[in-house]
């Protein structure tokens, strides 16, 4: 690229390219560009860049938008349908009842498996035994008898009479 001179103003060239200068500035920049190879090159670059960007974006966006039209018209039709009808449609739609059934099943399983212990009942320790290795407690409630067995974490085998 040619070296810009002191009079070169790239911002002015950019504004000139966009036709955003007032008449006097426009004429002045135009004269300068005609006499300055560096600014002329800059202007050519702006033209190329602009063309490439427009081609690039237009090319990407140059697709069939039929889906937009279809979706919009369907939404409009839906909105035109009376509220009662829409509720009925929504309730009967698979999108509603399939997830609703799935959630209901999950809740049923959850409450069946992880249900709370219910009402607390009186209980009594009817026997307990503590040893070096483990301990046992037998608890009785009005309906059941339960044995709880646990092992001591700090086990000393030397204390065993083997």
């Amino acid at each position: 690229m040619k070296k810009p001179s002191r009079n070169c103003d790239p911002v002015m060239v950019s504004c000139f390219f966009d036709k955003e200068l007032d008449l006097a500035d426009d004429a002045s920049v135009d004269r300068h560009i005609n006499s300055c190879p560096s600014c002329r090159e800059m202007l050519d670059e702006l033209k190329t860049l602009s063309r490439e960007v427009r081609t690039h974006i237009t090319g990407i966006c140059d697709t069939d938008h039929a889906s937009i039209e279809k979706s919009l018209l369907e939404t409009i039709c839906r909105k035109k349908t009376p509220f009662g009808e829409r509720v009925k449609e929504a309730v009967l739609s698979k999108k509603v009842w399939i997830p609703a059934t799935a959630v209901a099943s999950l809740l049923l399983v959850f409450f069946t498996v992880f249900q709370s212990p219910g009402v607390t009942e009186p209980s009594a320790i009817i026997a307990s035994l503590s040893g070096d290795v483990s301990s046992i407690v037998i608890i009785e409630t009005p309906r059941t008898r339960q044995t709880i067995l646990w092992f001591n974490e700090e086990f000393n085998p030397e204390r065993l009479d083997l």
Partner: protein
């Protein structure tokens, strides 16, 4: 039930707006036909995301459906549509999650991979490859421009708006528009040069 018959009527702007206000299905079909490509280009230029642009344009049309009664006709109908589109795009940009997604798309994916027929005269494998590379480089170059500068730049390049119009839409002063556009061009030029250099050394 939606019908998809072809719209053959010629609509002027006033007729179209009236039709939209009366919720006429034909008018909505015409709305999409006339404006979707223009709005899509603006949306894509700002978001650089094809899918999101499609969603945004669709949302714009839905907003028109819901708010057409608020359009008083003080400005051109297209200006109103364009303003809604730009506002929606700017809101989209503010959502960091989505921004994160496109910033991290792999280079190889290449936005806008149009399907072209291979082996035809105008699309020899070499030409096709060069065009694809250039597209990729342009796409990556556009991504390196900060969003505020890119928005001003795209409104200028794609929709040909004046600095005054851009200033009004983005609520900034004319001088800022000028410097943002200049900055965007410099940044894009540098990014493209650097990407082209990288490509040559590989």
């Amino acid at each position: 039930m939606v019908s998809y018959k072809t719209n053959t009527r010629d609509w002027d702007e006033a007729e179209l707006v009236l039709g939209l206000k009366e919720k006429d299905e034909e008018a909505y079909r015409e709305l999409v036909r006339q404006y979707q490509a223009k709005l899509f280009r603006i949306a894509y230029g700002i978001t650089l995301d094809r899918e999101e642009s499609s969603d945004i344009v669709q949302d714009v049309f839905l907003r028109v459906y819901q708010n057409i009664h608020t359009f008083k006709g003080d400005s051109k109908f297209y200006f109103w549509l364009r303003r809604i589109t730009i506002n929606m795009c700017l809101n989209w940009l503010r959502r960091w999650k989505r921004r994160f997604r496109w910033r991290h798309q792999p280079l190889e994916k290449g936005e806008g991979e149009n399907v072209v027929e291979l082996g035809t005269e105008s699309y020899s494998p070499e030409t096709l490859y060069r065009e694809k590379e250039l597209e990729k480089i342009l796409q990556e170059g556009l991504k390196t421009i900060p969003e505020d500068a890119r928005t001003a730049f795209i409104l200028k390049e794609i929709d040909g708006l004046s600095y005054n119009d851009i200033a009004e839409i983005l609520k900034i002063n004319k001088g800022t528009v000028s410097s943002r556009i200049f900055y965007a061009r410099q940044k894009l030029k540098r990014s493209i040069s650097s990407l082209l250099d990288q490509g040559e050394t590989e």
